[in-house]
Point group: C3
Chain length 162, copies 3
């Protein structure tokens, strides 16, 4: 069915090229977990972090060391890792029929309430790459800390053509 379904987004791979986006290296586990896993036609990802070349691109908390603009780019960076993880697992982004859930967990300090704007850094990338099928349900949560002191972690569940 891949490539033929009416409900399938045409051309995430094509759009990625048109946007001039180069995907980073796919993340690799540094513990007892896998980066992606499919059950039925749902693809679950491990929490995606703002890393580039396996190193943190951002450290710190929003409302403290980092402002909303840095947070937006950190969210976009983590979303790029998510795309790389999806492509590594499925072979092609074109197999994704829908982003179902995007959870944006961000480390915040004090009264930082600009979470939705930060989260849009990830949401906008998915919309640009997948089109309407990239516009998901969303959780946006400010948390106490994230692995290694990074400011963003993304939860992603995607629907995949079988």
């Amino acid at each position: 069915m891949v490539g033929a379904g009416v409900s399938q987004p045409a051309g995430a791979e094509v759009r990625l090229k048109e946007l001039g986006i180069e995907l980073p290296a796919a993340p690799t586990p540094f513990g007892n977990y896998v980066e992606a896993l499919q059950t039925g036609n749902l693809l679950f990802l491990t929490g995606m972090l703002p890393v580039a070349d396996h190193k943190p691109k951002y450290l710190g908390r929003l409302g403290n060391e980092l402002d909303a603009e840095a947070g937006r780019d950190a969210a976009r960076t983590a979303a790029l890792s998510a795309l790389a993880a999806i492509k590594a697992h499925l072979g092609s982004l074109d197999r994704v029929t829908r982003i179902v859930r995007l959870g944006v967990f961000m480390a915040t300090h004090g009264d930082f309430f600009d979470q939705p704007r930060v989260a849009d850094g990830a949401s906008e990338l998915f919309r640009d790459v997948f089109g309407p099928e990239g516009v998901s349900t969303r959780l946006v949560i400010g948390v106490a800390s994230l692995p290694l002191g990074m400011p963003i972690e993304l939860e992603v569940i995607a629907e995949v053509a079988r």
Copy 2:
């Protein structure tokens, strides 16, 4: 199958009326996301907040500006938004066959440990409206901050008759 299945809760809509509950306006996205989305027979919702008429009904943290009683009502308010979002997406609450997952994220300050009581504000509404099928698995998590400074955000996954 709707209306005929043995495992299907009879009458969420009827129960809602019997309880004298008026649903608020369904939430509308203020970013690049959708409020609800179905994949297979699972309905995912965006994180539901304690808003009424698109305005925050509560602001602040539990254990600081807000006590457990206010938290319970905030959780119930967010759960009413969830019902409105479900109804807007499915047409009728009667299409829900089960609440699968209720995640209650609440902004807490210091040593506030009354999270389960607060979460019951949402759980009890779902039980009252859906009956036994409204009694879900639950995550209860105290977090650093939530969008716009609101005290509660609900994660909801429901099972829907196809």
Copy 3:
């Protein structure tokens, strides 16, 4: 199909015995929720806490009262409760074909960034008991507070043979 599928992990129950692990009493709800619930072939659990005999085994925050080593054991203790909840719901751990998602929420204080090591306390138990099928996708999140002041709460979604 149970016991016959190629993709089904052979012998979680056998492995449990070989490892000399005695499961604790299954957790029981202390609110309006259920501990486990199956939809399609996904089994959702309620957030699992580090309890033994229905009492908290650990209280406090990582980076404050508790160090990473205590956190690892708390995560393992919560994972044992998860196994007990799965067994109580399904009758046998052998019906689990895959752990899909493990979310490790941990209460942290200040700059505690050793979250992955703590989370491994749960991941390693699942790997030891379920083999490769126990190696899941993972979310690791440091939060402000958890029910009753416990340091760990696990989110678990498992795939089950129908």
